[in-house]
C-alpha cells in the first residue's frame, strides 16, 4: 500500500457559532515546542475582533437570560464532549507545551475537572455572593449578582488548555459572553475547544475564539465601547502592553482583571474571584406588608 499523504490542517476562527476564515484571509504556521510544523491557524485582526464582539453581543440576551440551572447543564455537557476529545487534547498539549505525555494527560484531566468545577457554580454563586439585607424599614431588601456583559479575554500564552479553561469558564458561567484571544504560539487546544463548544449545546456567539497575534486584536477589544470587561491574563509579563490596554479600557469604564507580573501556576486551586470579577450586584428594595 502506498504511503498515506499527510493531512495538514488549516484551522479557522470561531465566531457566532460558525467557523469563518479570518477577514484578511491570512493564516500562520503553528509549530510544536521543538519547532516542527503542527498546523496552520487563522490570523485574526481587528475586523475579526469587531465581528466577534457583534456576535457576543447578539448572544448575550439569550445566555444571560437562561436560568442558572440551564447554563450549568450546558456547561456540564461541554465537559462531557471535552472528555470525548481527551486524546486529541493530550496530543496538542504535549506537542505545544513540550511536556511529557503523562504530564499532558494530567493537565487535560485537570482542565476538564476545572470546567466541571466552574459549571457547578452556575446555580450556586448567587447563594454565596447574593444576600438578603436587614434594613430599618418595612422593606424586603436583597442583592443578586448579575452578569456584566461582553467580556474580552486574553488567554494565557503558556498554559494552553488548563490556563485557557481557567479564564474562560468563569466568564461564561455567570451569564457573560466572551471574545477570547488564544495563545499565539499554542493555539491548538483553543481551536479544539471551539470544536467542542460548537458540538455541545452552547448557543453560538456565547464564546468566540480568535487565533493570531494578541497585539493585533487586544487594543481594539480593550478600546471597544461595546465590550464591558477585559481580562488581561494573556498580557502577563508585559507590563507596558498591559498598561496601555488598561488605559484604553478606561474610556467606557470597563471592568479590568489586571495582568499578573508573570503567568501564574494554573494548577493551584481556583477561588471565586474570577467569577465575581464579571458579576455586578443589583440590590432591590421591595416594600412588604402592602
Amino acid at each position: 500500500m502506498a504511503e498515506r499523504l499527510a493531512v495538514k490542517k488549516t484551522y479557522k476562527l470561531y465566531i457566532g457559532g460558525k467557523f469563518p476564515r479570518s477577514e484578511s484571509g491570512r493564516s500562520y504556521q503553528v509549530s510544536d515546542a521543538k519547532g516542527r510544523f503542527l498546523a496552520n491557524a487563522a490570523w485574526a485582526t481587528r475586523k475579526d475582533a469587531r465581528d466577534a464582539v457583534v456576535a457576543a453581543r447578539k448572544a448575550y440576551p439569550g445566555w444571560s437570560g437562561a436560568t442558572a440551572y440551564n447554563r450549568g447543564q450546558v456547561l456540564y455537557r461541554v465537559a462531557e464532549v471535552m472528555e470525548g476529545r481527551h486524546a486529541q487534547f493530550v496530543d496538542e498539549v504535549a506537542a505545544g507545551e513540550g511536556v511529557a505525555r503523562g504530564k499532558a494527560e494530567k493537565l487535560v484531566d485537570e482542565a476538564i475537572d476545572r470546567w466541571v468545577w466552574y459549571a457547578g457554580w452556575s446555580d450556586k454563586i448567587a447563594q454565596v455572593v447574593g444576600s438578603s439585607n436587614p434594613v430599618a424599614g418595612p422593606y424586603f431588601d436583597f442583592s443578586v449578582p448579575e452578569p456584566t456583559g461582553v467580556v474580552a479575554v486574553l488567554a494565557p500564552q503558556r498554559s494552553s488548555l488548563l490556563g485557557l479553561v481557567s479564564v474562560l469558564a468563569p466568564v461564561i458561567v455567570g451569564g457573560n459572553t466572551a471574545v477570547l484571544a488564544a495563545s499565539l504560539e499554542r493555539p491548538l487546544p483553543a481551536v479544539t475547544l471551539s470544536e467542542v463548544l460548537a458540538t455541545s449545546d452552547l448557543p453560538g456567539g456565547v464564546v468566540n475564539i480568535l487565533t493570531g497575534r494578541v497585539g493585533d486584536t487586544a487594543a481594539w477589544l480593550a478600546a471597544h465601547m461595546d465590550v464591558n470587561a477585559v481580562d488581561l491574563a494573556g498580557a502577563a509579563g508585559d507590563a507596558e502592553h498591559a498598561r496601555q490596554l488598561e488605559l484604553a479600557a478606561a474610556d467606557n469604564l470597563k471592568r479590568v482583571v489586571r495582568a499578573p507580573e508573570a503567568e501564574p501556576e494554573w494548577t493551584a486551586e481556583p477561588g471565586l474571584e474570577r467569577i465575581t470579577a464579571y458579576l455586578e450586584t443589583k440590590t432591590v428594595w421591595h416594600p412588604v406588608g402592602i
Binding site: 469587531r50 464582539v53 453581543r57 481594539w220 478600546a223 471597544h224 465601547m225 461595546d226 465590550v227 484604553a248 474610556d251 467606557n252
Partner: protein, 328 residues
Amino acid sequence: MLSALDDARLSDITSSEASLRRFLHGLPGVDQVGAEARAAMLATRSIKTTAKQFAIDLAISMIDLTTLEGQDTPGKVRALCAKALRPDPSDRSVPRVAAVCVYPDLVATAKEALGAGSDVKVASVATGFPSGRTSLAVKEADTRDAVAAGADEVDMVIDRGAFLAGRYGQVFDEIVAVKQACARAHGANDDGAGAHLKVILETGELATYDNVRRASWLAMLAGADFIKTSTGKVVPAATLPVTLVMLEAVRDFRDAIGRQVGVKPAGGIRTSKDAIRYLVLVNETAGEDWLDPDWFRLGASSLLNDLLMQRQKMLTGRYAGPDYFTLD
C-alpha cells in the same frame, strides 16, 4: 436605449391601455444574470478613509427615517423627529436626515415636532399602505388627508394585483389620480407646490426584473417624482440588483423625456456597508446627478445608528457601541 420621446409620442403611449402595454412590453428585457453580476461586482468596491467619511455623511443626509408600525405612538414619532433633527446629540457636525416617514394620522404630530420651516421633510405613506387594496376613492381621500395634515411627500403603493394581471391602464390612472390629490388639497399648509409623489413598486411581489423595469416606466410616465422599491413589509425588500434596474430606468427616462426622477430603496438596509454599496451603485449607474438627497433616498430606521457608530469609529479610532445611541 430609447430615442427621445416628444410630447406627441408620449401622449400617444399613454392614450390607451393597449398602447401602454405595447410600449411597456416593447422595453428591452433585463439580463438577469448580468444585472446580478454587475450589482455583485460593484458591491466589492472598497470605500475607505475620507471617501468613506464623505459617503457616511451623504448617506445620513439621504435617510428617510421611518417608523411604520401599528404600535406607533405620538411619543415615538416625536422621538424620531428629535433624532432626525440631531442624529447624534453629542456631535453637531452630523448632518440632518432628509425626511421622517410615518403613517398619515401621525403627519401632524411629526410636522409639529420638526417645527415650521424645518429642512427635514415629512413623508407619509398613503393609498392603503402597505397592500393598497382599497378603492380609488379611499386612496385619494387617504392622500388628501396626509397632504392636508402637512405631508411634504407622499409614498403611495401601486396595485400589484392589477399590475400583475396586466391592467396597466388602471395602475397608470391611479397614480395620476393620486398625483392630483397630492397637488390639489393644501389646507392650512398651502405652499402652492403640493406634495412630492413617491411610487412604491413593491418589487418583492413583482417576480421578475422585467416587471420591475416596466413598473418603473409606468410610474414615471404617470408622473412619479420618485420610484421606491418596497414597503418594507414584504421580503425580499430592497436589493442591489433591483435598485440597479430602477436606476437604469430613471437614467433612460431622463435621456428620453428630459425629466429627472428620484430613486428610493427601502427595507432591509441596515448597515453602513449596505448603504455605501447603494451609493456606489447610484454613482456608477445613474451618475453623480443622483448623488443628492433630492434624487436618492434610503428608507431605513436602524441604518442610522450603524452609520453614526461608523462615523464615531472613524473620528475616535475605537469601535462604538449601541449603548451610546438612542434606541428606536
